[in-house]
């Protein structure tokens, strides 16, 4: 490309030179946010798929649910760049999954700084794929974010947008899976939950569906440098605010 015109011979040479690096392909997955509700689903699915899983946890995190799964732990604070650097260097890891979330009224800068450090060190340590669980409202999905929620959520969504930016600009191959309305942890997907690259798609989705998408995107070239919205239009919801929300999305789409 550009001034470089590779010949068939140099290409073959390059192909063979890269082959020894396939040791990385056998390497594991590092999960951030693995003690959270979404992270737990993802870790469980990864372990079930036979992956070598390491979970980045704070020294104070509760590991009760992760310990029986036989995963490894890397300890640190995601807001301390040195800790993130050390975690990525403790690999090699071929895939990094970010399922971080902070409850309540935390400093939105959390989503910017954590993604800045993870992206930078994933890129520098040669990670093949960073899978980020993000939020609808970031980037080009801004127009479909409910205006009524923007007053409260605007700073968080803007921070998540900047987090995505750090990942996209880092040069690390990325997959962003956004959700708009995450259903309660006990709800299970309809079996027909889907991902779309249409960034104007609204929907509700369950954590088990997001975990399934994560596994399906692992090492999958069709997910590289793509942004998806997860949704489950076929899920049956009991009467209440989630069903009302789903109805309002249907109306908005019409």
């Amino acid at each position: 490309m550009f001034n470089l015109k590779p010949s068939a011979a140099t290409c073959l040479a390059l192909a063979f030179t890269l082959s020894p690096f396939t040791a990385f392909a056998e390497s594991g997955v590092l999960v951030f946010g693995g003690t959270g509700k979404l992270g737990l689903e993802i870790v469980a699915d990864l372990v079930e798929a036979g992956e070598d899983v390491s979970v980045f946890v704070r020294p104070t995190s509760n590991r009760d649910q992760l310990e029986p799964m036989g995963v490894k732990f890397v300890t640190g604070d995601v807001l301390a760049e040195g800790d993130v650097e050390a975690a990525l260097k403790s690999g090699p890891y071929r895939v990094v999954v970010d399922a971080l979330a902070r409850d309540g009224d935390v400093n939105p800068g959390f989503y910017i700084d954590s993604m800045e450090y993870i992206s930078k060190w994933a890129q520098q340590t040669g990670v093949n794929q960073v899978i980020l669980h993000g939020s609808v409202g970031a980037g080009l999905s801004r127009p479909i974010y409910p205006e009524a929620r923007w007053d409260v959520m605007g700073p968080t969504i803007t921070a998540k947008d900047h987090g995505e930016r750090h990942l996209m600009e880092s040069g690390a191959p990325y997959t962003i899976i956004r959700n708009l309305v995450l259903l309660p942890a006990e709800m299970k997907e309809s079996g027909k939950a889907e991902m779309t690259t249409n960034q104007l798609k609204r929907g509700v989705v369950t954590r088990d569906a997001l975990a399934r998408f994560t596994l399906e995107c692992l090492d999958n070239a069709s997910c590289i440098n793509e942004i998806f919205h997860g949704y489950d239009d076929a899920i049956e919801l009991p009467p209440g605010r989630y069903r009302d929300t789903m109805e309002s999305f249907r109306k908005a789409e019409k």
């Binding site: 550009f2 890269l18 690096f21 396939t22």
Partner: protein, 254 residues
């Protein structure tokens, strides 16, 4: 990924790159070529012997470009069919976007124009899109003193325009300016580009044109975002004082 597969995919990628290199003989398509920045860029391109095509509205004043040996393609950048037809009208290896609209009341212009240009560039296999953007978009928003009061919606729109380009998959170069000095200011000779998105500075159009030509087909500029600074330039006092205010504000944030 198994080693054979990785080697094979590298070989396939190389083959694709080799054939893409055929396009290195194509010309340069310029959007915004009739504006003050565009004019400087077209001059610099023709001085280098590039085959230049300028996309212009039928009613655009072409007199300043009249004496130069360039081609024109006519259309409205907010009409996707026109943009698509322009890309089909020739073989372009690089596309430059130097579009600007006077006043700050038409923010969506920057979103839609970039959406259409990015998509057409991707579809026709352009090897580089160079976008002249604004400091205040994307991650540079985080270190911008004035953004909310004066330029909020405009910078959000320009950020979304950048997003379209970055997500399109077309190799991109974004060159942002913070304060563009009035024509006919000339650069000091010490103007530079930096990947530090917190950098702010004054800049002239001739320096931006020089950077554009220097980035043409350069791997070091691919998928990068630059800020432009010329600290040694002669500038009116009001520009100096706003730069000082910005830099004082940055210090106070640390």
């Amino acid at each position: 990924m198994p080693s054979l597969l990785r080697g094979l995919s590298t070989a396939i990628l190389c083959t694709l790159l080799s054939s893409a290199a055929v396009k290195a003989d194509g010309g340069v398509l310029v959007f915004g070529g009739t504006g003050q920045l565009g004019l400087e860029i077209v001059k610099a391109l023709t001085a280098k012997g590039e085959d230049v095509t300028v996309f212009a509205r039928p009613q655009s004043d072409r007199t300043s470009l009249g004496s130069m040996n360039i081609s024109f393609v006519t259309g409205d950048v907010l009409n996707e069919d026109d943009v698509s037809a322009a890309f089909q009208s020739g073989s372009f290896r690089v596309v430059i976007d130097a579009l600007a609209r006077d006043g700050n009341d038409d923010a969506d212009f920057y979103i839609e124009s970039m959406e259409y240009i990015s998509r057409a560039a991707k579809e026709t296999g352009v090897s580089q899109v160079i976008l002249h953007g604004s400091v205040g978009a994307g991650l540079s928003h985080l270190s911008e003193r004035d953004s909310e009061e004066d330029f909020g919606p405009l910078m959000v729109a320009k950020g979304l325009g950048e997003r379209y380009l970055m997500e399109s998959g077309t190799p991109y170069t974004i060159i942002r300016n913070w304060a563009l000095l009035p024509f006919p200011a000339k650069e000091s000779g010490q103007a530079f580009m930096t990947e530090d998105q917190s950098a702010r500075g004054l800049i002239t159009r001739d320096a931006l044109a020089r950077f554009t030509v220097e980035c043409l087909n350069q791997a070091r500029c691919i998928n990068k975002i630059f800020h432009t600074v010329d600290d040694a330039v002669d500038a009116p006092e009001r520009y100096r004082s706003s730069l000082k205010a910005q830099r004082d504000w940055e210090k106070s944030q640390k």
